[in-house]
């Protein structure tokens, strides 16, 4: 386990990779339990508080979204190195989700369709964006567990606030969790 923190609260970190932030919205849907959340946990690196770098080791890392570019892979590995328990959150982290629809076709075809042949592309002037600063797209979208070891999964698109709450509270207690079918049924 991570060393005891000053506040002695379990440390949680979150990140959105190739996701839509829907999972994070769902986390915020815990409503007034957000007050309990603050009492129970300390939030480290997360888009919610905009902490960019881990300032301490986290007990639990929640990862939304799969990996569609090299930046995602880097960040995911950074999370794995800095979190005791890593949870893959939602369909995109688990199986690539909607972004993975592109996995069935070559990357080049997707780029041409999106930037050159798009109805809004300016004729003759359209280019496929390329800059050193831009993350490089991967050949396909990878679920998180195909890149690093994942300890738990939270199914759903997005997982409901209940699932977030149940998972966080049981993982922190060191318990496994058994989500009832009603909570993981998304169809």
């Amino acid at each position: 386990m991570a060393e005891q923190t000053a506040s002695n609260k379990p440390v949680v970190a979150t990140i959105s990779l190739a996701g839509c932030f829907g999972c994070h919205m769902s986390l915020l849907d815990i409503d007034d339990r957000i007050v309990q959340f603050i009492d129970l946990f300390e939030l480290n690196k997360s888009p919610v508080n905009d902490i960019k770098k881990f300032t301490k080791r986290a007990h639990v890392g929640l990862v939304e979204g799969g990996c569609c570019n090299d930046e995602n892979v880097k960040v995911l590995r950074y999370f794995r190195e800095n979190c005791d328990v890593l949870v893959s959150v939602g369909a995109c982290a688990g199986n690539g989700g909607l972004p993975a629809l592109r996995n069935k076709m070559p990357l080049q075809e997707c780029l041409v369709e999106a930037y050159l042949d798009a109805p809004t592309a300016e004729l003759g002037k359209a280019i496929i964006p390329y800059d050193e600063e831009l993350p490089k797209l991967l050949d396909r979208v990878y679920p998180c567990h195909e890149v690093v070891k994942i300890d738990y999964y939270m199914p759903g698109c997005p997982p409901s606030a209940e699932v977030f709450w149940d998972t966080l509270t049981s993982v922190i207690k060191g318990q496994g969790f058994d989500l009832p079918v009603e909570l993981i049924k998304y169809d």
Binding site: G96, N103, K104, P155, V181
Partner: protein, 236 residues
């Protein structure tokens, strides 16, 4: 037919001699999941989800006939995990995007995944490329969801010639179902409905029908698959 007794996980069961194991188990309120076997129809033995142990060997339950004194092992962590792994393999083999699938909520594969509490398949997704075959007037073949159970191959035949309308093409991971579109164009409404209904997944779709059942009223919305057999007592 003479009655015999046999055991499933130590539970005394009675059945007709030579009865199909999956069906005999159901009569004794034990749900052995299947994706290819259909009650009263000849055994296909393609999906292997009905795996049980008899005489120390793993076997497809639907291929077995019960006999006096037979001892069947079914509900063990090892066998349940093997069954779950088989379901997971079916999910990674093709492209299953349930939220956009016409069969969602009434799909046997999806229902079994829920029953086995599958969160994420343990295998790598293959993301193969398949085009939807839509040449037939009234139906579509959505290869992305086919589990190659071969129900359509065996049980949907041209009524005049008894020829197969659906058949298998290629081998190994290139195997796929093909359809004789001339025969398929002759299919009656009832036969199309039957094909759609017996396909355990959303691979055979009737054109113009789509999402015709409301959420909450679909086959597996109220109860998990197998509920009519075991009343939900055995969760595996």
């Amino acid at each position: 037919m003479p009655k015999i007794t046999f055991k499933i996980d130590g539970k005394q069961c009675t059945a007709e001699d030579g009865q199909n194991l999956v069906e005999a188990a159901a009569d004794n309120h034990v749900y052995i999941p299947t994706l290819c076997h259909m009650k009263g129809e000849k055994c296909l033995g393609t999906c292997r989800v009905c795996m049980v142990k008899v005489n120390g060997k793993d076997m497809a339950g639907c291929t077995l006939s019960v006999s006096e004194g037979m001892e069947v092992t079914f509900d063990t962590p090892e066998l349940n995990d093997k069954r779950k792994a088989l379901i997971e393999m079916l999910f990674v083999e093709r492209n299953h995007f349930c939220p956009s699938c016409e069969k969602s909520g009434r799909c046997d594969l999806q229902a079994l995944a829920y029953r086995f509490k599958m969160h994420i398949p343990r295998f790598r997704y293959r993301y193969p490329f398949f085009e939807v075959y839509s040449k037939v007037d009234k139906l579509m073949l959505e290869h992305n969801r086919c589990i190659l159970c071969q129900r359509c191959v065996e049980f949907i035949r041209d009524p005049d010639t008894n020829r197969k309308i659906f058949s298998m093409r290629n081998r190994t991971n290139k195997s796929m179902i093909q359809v004789d579109y001339r025969l398929a164009n002759k299919m009656s409404e009832e036969q199309i409905d039957k094909a759609v209904a017996i396909c355990p997944v959303g691979a055979i779709i009737k054109k113009g029908q789509g999402f015709d059942e409301a959420y909450g009223q679909r086959k597996y919305d109220q109860h998990p698959i197998g509920y009519e057999v075991d009343g939900g007592t055995n969760s595996k």
